[in-house]
């Protein structure tokens, strides 16, 4: 009798044992050594970056987080679909984790792929509180590889996050050492003529904007998996192997252009979701984005993984090698990026002097109906010489036409564009959105205050959505900076003009002077953060709370009427 009872009890317990993973994390003060400098920071389980957490799709995870700091902390699981109380944003999901407290997160894993986690309190994330999250799928993935590596990038700065915020508020170009100098005036004069250069400087001076304003935060040491360029993180391989590299950009402020000289990369996943494979020579990874690529080094030699910052002020570097200790050449940084008048495209009330900007219609706006699958049936007897196969000349539609930020591959090959991304397995059926919400990305560089629709988070009402609707968000970037917009808890379906094959992401980069659309199926009740993922922009006001009214079970007895189309922002 007892044996049978025991067996029954055991059988009842088994499923929960098999499906539950339990993990322990402590949040600690740690020392971070970048190779260039040593600094106190914050880490998980005694180091920064924290451990790589490996979950399985379908399991329910319990993560016990113990706060060993003397201030509040939190952990946000970036890109994960979970109940909103588990999302880890103080003030929105939960009050936060008090010093000395242990908070237990518990939620089911409903997805697979590469993600990451980080503190959502203060500037703890730039100070080192981040780690990688790898979720194994239930079924097989649409690609094969022999080994995998997490390649997590960050821009570690010798100043603490609080200090950086204060310095940027005091002097917005505090960290910008790539500004135009007298020397550049003379070299521009010799290239473009003296009066053209004078006119150019006067035009920008009139706006009180700098074309050198690409990167707010410079002077960082790029880290890959916690190691600086000198420390050289190395991933070993055997020639001929296919290696899956899980690139995660965990920076505070920096976009990286990633390439591996000598190897091309096949992008198979973006933001944790499988994409139809596209082979590129270089890609730009925005803050908080992830890209999984497959490389196949065939030769017995070392390869440099080179992540050059978008503004070319710094870099991160690691190595793929058959043996430890091998190194390959590290390329020099390219010329600093410079904005153009095209990047100012969406600014209102700007007197651009006599600069010819063209109508705002032909800038930015993408006509997607003609993008996917070009119809060549009208052509006969093609002359291959004139075919627009030249990828360099073909403008990336996600940059303003004539933008100074359009990336080109260092080896002249293919540079990944959002326009190349197609979902491998769409998560949602395509349907018409129920309404459109416009979010103008706004800011004042001189005051270093950033906002959405001109309103900072502290003064803003929440954005209210209804469970079950499909909202089309229109991001209009009225600033001259790139902004990676991240909606918590629900997927952002980026409109690249591919209908049901539009890629599914969690972080959408919006370039200066452009308008980008993305759609969200509102299928997660609760309240969620929605913000620019540049740490110092989010803290300066570029942040919103999204409230999802209703849920799968509740009766729609609530008669909350949305006052006007477009909603409150």
């Amino acid at each position: 009798m007892n044996i049978r009872l025991g067996a029954v009890v055991l059988c009842l317990l088994m499923p929960s044992l098999a499906l539950a993973g339990e993990y322990d994390l402590t949040v600690d003060r740690v020392e971070i050594d970048t190779g260039d400098f040593v600094k106190q920071g914050i880490g998980y389980n005694g180091k920064s970056p924290g451990p790589v957490l490996r979950f399985k799709e379908g399991e329910t995870v319990r993560i016990n987080v113990t706060n060993n700091l003397d201030e509040m902390t939190s952990i946000h699981w970036h890109g994960l679909i979970l109940p909103y109380q588990q999302d880890g944003v103080p003030g929105i999901s939960f009050p936060g984790i008090k010093p000395g407290e242990t908070f237990t997160y518990e939620f089911p894993i409903q997805q697979a792929g590469t993600y990451w986690f980080h503190s959502h309190s203060g500037f703890q994330e730039p100070d080192g509180a981040y780690g990688a999250l790898v979720i194994e799928p239930e079924g097989r993935e649409p690609f094969r590889y022999d080994r995998e590596y997490v390649v997590q990038l960050t821009d570690k700065h010798p100043h603490s996050g609080d200090r950086i915020m204060r310095n940027l508020k005091m002097m917005p170009d505090y960290y910008n050492r790539k500004q135009q100098t007298v020397g550049e005036f003379f070299s521009d004069s010799s290239e473009q003529g003296f009066w053209n250069t004078v006119r150019d400087r006067l035009a920008w001076g009139d706006m009180r904007m700098m074309k050198a304003d690409v990167e707010d935060l410079q002077g960082f040491t790029g880290l890959i998996n916690g190691k600086g360029p000198e420390q050289n993180w190395t991933g070993l391989f055997e020639p001929g192997e296919r290696i899956r590299m899980r690139f995660i950009n965990s920076s505070a402020m920096t976009y990286f252009d990633v390439r591996i000289p000598g190897l091309d990369m096949t992008v198979v996943q973006a933001d944790g979701n499988n994409v139809q494979p596209v082979t590129v020579d270089e890609f730009r990874i925005g803050v908080a984005e992830t890209y999984d690529v497959i490389v196949r080094p065939r030769d017995e030699q070392a390869y440099t993984i080179f992540a050059e910052s978008m503004g070319r002020s710094g870099y991160a570097r690691a190595t793929l090698a058959p043996e430890a200790g091998m190194e390959a050449a590290v390329p020099p940084l390219r010329e600093p990026a410079r904005l153009t008048m095209a990047d100012m495209g969406n600014m209102h009330g700007m007197d651009h002097g006599n600069m010819d900007m063209g109508s705002s219609d032909d800038m930015a706006g993408m006509d997607h109906s003609s993008m996917a699958g070009m119809d060549h049936s009208g052509m006969s007897g093609m002359d291959h010489g004139s075919m627009m196969m030249d990828n360099q000349a073909q403008q990336d539609p996600f940059y303003a036409r004539g933008s100074g930020l359009v990336p080109t591959a260092a080896n002249g090959g293919k540079f990944l564009s959002y326009a190349d991304l197609r979902a491998q397995n769409p998560l949602y059926e395509e349907r018409e959105p129920t309404r459109e919400i416009e979010l103008r990305l706004t800011g004042n560089m001189e005051r270093y205050s950033w906002s959405i629709n001109g309103v900072k988070y502290e003064d803003a009402d929440p954005i209210r959505l209804k469970y079950g609707e499909r909202v089309r968000f229109k991001f209009v970037n009225e600033t001259m900076m790139t902004h990676p917009m991240h909606l918590h808890g629900m997927w952002s379906i980026l409109d690249v003009g591919a209908g049901q094959w539009n890629p599914i992401k969690h972080t959408i980069n919006v370039n200066p002077g452009t308008t980008v659309y993305m759609e969200t199926e509102v299928d997660e009740p609760g309240q969620w953060a929605f913000h620019c993922h540049l740490s110092y922009h989010a803290a300066a006001g570029m942040f919103r709370k999204v409230i999802v009214e209703g849920g799968p079970d509740s009766q729609q007895a609530k008669t909350e009427v949305m006052a006007e189309d477009g909603g409150e922002a």
Binding site: G96, Q180, R447, I547, G551
Partner: protein, 249 residues
């Protein structure tokens, strides 16, 4: 209604409505620091220098500024002084306390008080002005002073930075004072009273925190102010070699 249906309805209520209500209650308000306006502060010595004049005069000069506040309201404490090393006396000693609010994208309005306590008579002024960035990158500070006695004057400060490199910076400054009424006691005559122009070449040694510089400063008095200065056996025009450092944190 049968008992079964009744209990069914009750359990429906319990299982559907109560969780929804609980969930609605659980959506917390944001009382975190993020919902508060961002507060910043800073202290800067724009000038902290030793001046040596063509008349062998030696001065210790500073021009400091501390602020605290948010985008919508800042409190600023300004301090400026010229200390004559030989005479061990303050030729100039000014302190200002102003409140500042944004009035346009690039300009703030300010109002406050100024206390002058140099060697000689003290003065107290009410201060009104605007400060900000003009097109073509001039830092402008324009102030109107009204003394307790009713004497009014205005000061315009302009600053321009030329980047030789991203670390070597040439700063040009102009400081002009216009008095609308005479204040003989402190040697101010009506009209354009004085100008101070400076050219300083600095090197950003430690971030923007420590930037040593050297340069040249020209001071001049005009009109009635010049006459008053001559009467008091002072100079009306001085050239200074200066060496110092800009400190900011």
């Amino acid at each position: 209604m049968s008992l079964v249906r009744f209990s069914g309805a009750v359990s429906l209520l319990v299982f559907l409505v109560l969780p929804a209500m609980a969930a609605a209650q659980a959506m917390i308000a944001d009382t975190s620091g993020r919902k508060q306006p961002l507060t910043t502060w800073g202290i800067q010595f724009e000038e902290l220098e030793y001046r040596y004049s063509d008349d062998d005069e030696e001065l210790g000069v500073w021009n400091a500024d501390a602020f605290y506040g948010t985008d919508d309201f800042k409190v600023r404490l300004l301090s400026a002084g010229e200390y004559e090393i030989d005479e061990q006396a303050y030729e100039t000693l000014e302190h200002q306390l102003v409140g500042q609010i944004p009035v346009s994208r690039f300009f703030d309005a300010k109002a406050g008080v100024r206390f002058d306590t140099p060697e000689g008579p003290d003065r107290t002024y009410a201060v009104f002005g605007v400060t900000g960035l003009s097109p073509q990158w001039f830092e402008i500070d324009a102030s109107l002073y009204v003394s307790k006695e009713g004497d009014t004057s205005a000061a315009l400060e302009a600053e321009y930075e030329l980047l030789f490199t991203n670390h070597w910076i040439l700063t040009a400054t102009l400081d002009a004072t216009v008095a609308f009424s005479e204040d003989e006691e402190i040697g101010i005559g009506k009209g354009l009273a004085s100008t101070e122009t400076g050219l300083r070449l600095s090197y950003d040694l430690i971030d923007r925190a420590v930037s040593p510089y050297f340069g040249v400063v020209h001071e001049r008095k005009y009109g009635d102010t010049a006459d008053l200065a001559e009467t008091a056996a002072g100079s009306t025009e001085d050239w200074f070699a200066v060496i110092g450092a800009r400190i900011a944190f």
